[in-house]
């Protein structure tokens, strides 16, 4: 599948759930159990996406990667602005790569 086809497929996958309730108002009331379970989909998706790739995200350096994610977790726990959080995580990753001597030099 080409990248353009993928993007168009994703356009359909994101637009249809947004559009259907406007065209078919009666469809916007799913069963209570389904609505309840759907509320957990974002958290489940985020958690599933972090592992295992997150452990080697900083140029393959496990220590730098884990340290960066720990900083992101701590700052987001403190509700720090997400831009600052991401910048801090990248900074820690860069520092970790340099200290480990695995950077580009």
């Amino acid at each position: 599948m080409s990248t353009m086809t993928l993007i168009l497929g994703m356009l359909a996958a994101t637009f249809v759930p947004r559009l259907v309730p406007f065209l078919l108002p009666a469809a916007g009331n799913p069963p209570a159990w389904l609505a309840h379970a759907l509320g957990y989909v974002p958290a489940a998706a985020l958690a599933a996406l972090v592992v295992p790739g997150g452990f080697t995200a900083a140029g393959g350096n496990v220590g730098a990667s884990v340290a960066a994610l720990a900083v992101a977790a701590a700052l987001s726990f403190r509700r720090v602005n997400i831009g600052i959080t991401l910048a801090a995580a990248v900074g820690v990753a860069a520092l970790g790569i340099v200290l480990a001597g695995t950077g580009a030099g």
Partner: protein
């Protein structure tokens, strides 16, 4: 005519806070695309046509893993199905399909919090600000990646995962049923991934569905409400994750 223009301008004003949340994450998405080897125009097409941040990050991650496009689209549908609930809520107040494309978690939050009559032009104004911030930030990030030193490019590899962690943490501390959902998803992802029975994309879908089911079961047993505190749409962090 003046009245209609004022409604749109009011929407633009209401959308300003979204810009501050979207731009950093959009820049990060552009950088992630750059790191994944995608050219700037593809990054822009993702943001302009899909306009669903979390799914876009997920798609780039799955692309780098070599996962089939149909599985990426299926995962996108699963992750974004919550917009069905948000659109249902907005449609009950503003039954105009023209505003459907721009509905995101943050647009929904701002529009829902708007007191009084909500008009299509007001919602379009909010959506315009969100859309411009997201697409503009994306192209800025994609182009900036061209001139960054290699060390920084390597370090930027953590951006995507740091974003996921940042979005997840506030949800984890809110309710133990969310912890159960996340733990189950991780266990399924690692367990089935190690077993090697299914393609990576299918494993991810199982992890998402299994995690959501586990969270729902624990939430029911604990007598808790929805993981988002009762509001529709689970992705509550303002800064990202459409």
């Amino acid at each position: 005519m003046q009245h209609r223009a004022n409604e749109y301008l009011n929407g633009l004003r209401l959308g300003v806070p979204i810009v501050f949340g979207y731009v950093p994450v959009a820049i990060a998405f552009g950088l992630v695309c750059r790191n994944a080897g995608l050219p700037p125009h593809v990054a822009l097409l993702f943001s302009a046509l899909v306009f669903a941040g979390a799914s876009q990050f997920m798609a780039v991650e799955m692309l780098t893993l070599g996962i089939d496009g149909l599985q990426i689209i299926a995962a996108t549908l699963a992750v974004n199905f919550r917009h069905f609930l948000m659109s249902s809520s907005i449609a009950s107040r503003v039954p105009q399909p023209v505003i459907a494309f721009g509905i995101t978690d943050e647009v929904f939050a701002v529009a829902s919090a708007h007191p009084g009559t909500l008009t299509p032009r007001t919602v379009l104004g909010i959506e315009t600000m969100a859309y411009l911030a997201w697409t503009g930030g994306t192209i800025a990030g994609a182009l900036a990646g061209e001139i960054l030193p290699l060390l920084l490019q390597q370090a930027l590899g953590v951006t995507l995962y740091a974003l996921f962690v940042s979005l997840l943490m506030p949800q984890l501390v809110r309710d133990r049923s969310v912890v159960a959902a996340a733990a189950a998803a991780v266990a399924i992802r690692l367990g089935l991934g190690a077993a090697g029975w299914f393609p990576a994309g299918v494993v991810l879908l199982f992890a998402i569905a299994g995690g959501a089911a586990a969270g729902a079961v624990v939430g029911r047993r604990g007598g808790g409400g929805r993981p988002d505190g009762g509001r529709r749409g689970g992705w509550r962090r303002q800064e990202a994750g459409r």
